[in-house]
């Protein structure tokens, strides 16, 4: 069937609400408004205000309440409008959600799912455009998911709800309108592995989330030049699928990591380090990185584009790696 990323996500939420009475959706404008990004449009009418629960603008309060409700036996899905706003709930996410199981000696699970948008590309300015999922991937106790495809938009949520631990799902804002075919019986998918989205033998382009379409575009351009790039979609930023990452590099001997976060201290830095630590002798070139410019994301279109990983910059990085023959 034809669908969009937004509709696939909505179908996943509806499915979860139907499957399990303990599931409810909570967040700013998720109910009467239909969701800031229209993901929950119609669900308020279908499931009512108890299960599609509008919250006040109080991220610490409702994220903490989600943690408490999870401790109390519910299966909350908490929507935070954007990753920038999640910073107001950092205490609850880091000091409670991520730590309670370990600190309590295994007594208290927090089966909570938090969804939020991330990323730039829509001229929203610095306070609505950042990609901070790499920060969250720093924190033990959290699972970090970055659905990039319709299948993952449809399938990751239910598996995440079955996880007894807190799961954060990052939805890139430019993906919601992506349309395509999704199998009629599409359902839950795994939330532990990376996926090869385009097999290739000359170089591994490693990415996730909103930059996957950009990287696939870059790979097509490289193919026209006779460079056969493999595109690896990480899907999960914590825990990372080391086997898939190292397996791809062992095959291609070159890697460029594409990450919309800033280069310094980023998830791409972690990937580069892991590849260097574990696959150094497989490499024919240094691990390359294409990240966002180290600036707060600007509003003006030309400056925003200049700050982001574009297909041109990815192609250039890949050519450089391939040119540096060992």
């Amino acid at each position: 069937m034809k669908t969009t990323y937004r509709e696939a996500m909505r179908a996943a939420i509806r499915d979860a609400l139907q499957r399990d009475e303990r599931v409810f959706l909570m967040g700013e404008d998720v109910g009467a408004y239909g969701g800031c990004f229209a993901v929950s449009l119609g669900l308020f009418e279908e499931f009512g205000p108890e299960r599609i629960r509008d919250t006040p603008l109080s991220e610490s309060g409702f994220v903490g309440a989600g943690i408490g409700a999870a401790l109390g036996g519910m299966r909350p899905i908490v929507e935070i409008m954007t990753v920038n706003f999640s910073l107001l709930a950092l205490d609850q996410l880091v000091n409670n959600a991520a730590t309670l199981l370990h600190m309590s000696g295994g007594q208290f699970n927090v089966p909570l799912v938090i969804r939020m948008t991330t990323g730039a590309g829509r001229q929203l300015g610095a306070q609505h455009s950042h990609s901070l999922e790499g920060w969250y991937a720093h924190i033990p106790g959290l699972r970090i998911l970055t659905p990039a495809t319709l299948e993952d938009a449809r399938g990751m949520l239910w598996t995440a709800l079955e996880d007894p631990d807190p799961v954060l799902i990052f939805e890139h804002g430019t993906l919601y309108n992506v349309a395509g075919d999704l199998a009629d019986d599409a359902g839950p998918v795994d939330i532990s592995t990376a996926a090869v989205r385009r097999p290739g033998k000359d170089i591994s382009l490693i990415t996730y989330g909103g930059t996957l379409p950009v990287v696939l575009d870059a790979a097509a351009r490289l193919a026209a030049d006779g460079i056969d790039a493999e595109v690896l979609d990480l899907r999960v930023l914590r825990p990372l699928d080391d086997a898939a990452i190292l397996g791809s590099v062992a095959k291609t001997h070159r890697a460029v990591v594409v990450d919309e976060g800033w280069r310094s201290g980023s998830i791409s830095a972690e990937l580069s380090a892991r590849i260097t630590e574990s696959a150094f002798f497989d490499l024919d070139a240094p691990v390359g990185r294409v990240c966002s410019a180290e600036v707060p994301l600007p509003y003006a279109k030309h400056q925003e584009l200049a700050a982001l990983p574009t297909a041109e910059r990815i192609v250039a990085a890949a050519r450089e790696a391939v040119g540096a023959r060992g």
Partner: protein, 333 residues
Amino acid sequence: MTGTSSRGTGSAESGHARHLLHQMLRVRRLEEQCVELYSAAKIRGFLHVYIGEEAVAAGVMSTLGPDDAVVATYREHGHALLRGVPAGAILAEMYGYVEGCCRGRGGSMHLFDAATRFYGGNAIVAGGLPLAVGLALADKMSGRSRVTACFFGEGAVAEGAFHESLNLAALWQLPVLFCCENNLYAMGTALARSESQTDIALKAAGYEIASWSADGMDVLAVEEAARRAVDAVRAGGGPHFLELRTYRFRAHSMFDPERYREKTEVSRWMERDPINSLRNALEAAGQLTEKDWKSIQQDVEAEVKAAVEFAEAGTLEPVEDLTRFVYSERSPQ
């Protein structure tokens, strides 16, 4: 909708009053023992004792049932003990032993116990309030008649999470009992130096929450106010707020040189020691004999001694278990 509850009437059934006296003394002696063990370097980390504030935990806890939930702060040894966590498991936790209530991973500030629905042990000021709101939300959505009691100090009133939590609890009419232990100092900062409005019950009432103040040095007054509030919460009356005016006799923590308050102020409050006050009142009313008091003391001494022995016999969690429970052992693929 604020009010001040009357002082304890003294008409409480004397056996029950003796029980409360016993409960307060259990907390006092356990914590005096903690201070000794800390000074002897047997337990480490930050240690915050509750000495002087026992009437608050004893009074509120006696009104809760086994299915209710409790959320507390880093000054929570007494809450854990009176909620039913064994003294030995509390002490072993502070020793860092696997026999502790959190396998030695939490320590003094992070006591947890699933069996008694004791949800910590939160060392971020006001960090427990949103959790309490969520626990209450789960109960309300599941149609369960449970109460979540949330303890915090008056310092928490300055945090955003306090205001967010009160607003949510009132908006959604959730079964939470907020218990503000107003001991006048947020570490070393006096209430008047940190709040524009120092009447905390009044502040809570601004959220349309039924709010009362009670004398936190009088366990019978605390219990009376708490019982009224818990009954109302359980009957579906939405969140209630208690401001319990109390005082800690000791420093904020073992590292606090206590430069911010006069010794005369402390000694004035110590004249209102909640344990001595109740003991004297019961003796004066002929409801407590010297023999009764001795018997309570002996019980408590025996309990604390056994707890120390239990903790001393503890063992270390194997280092191989360090990374257990970062994630659950039954994660989906």
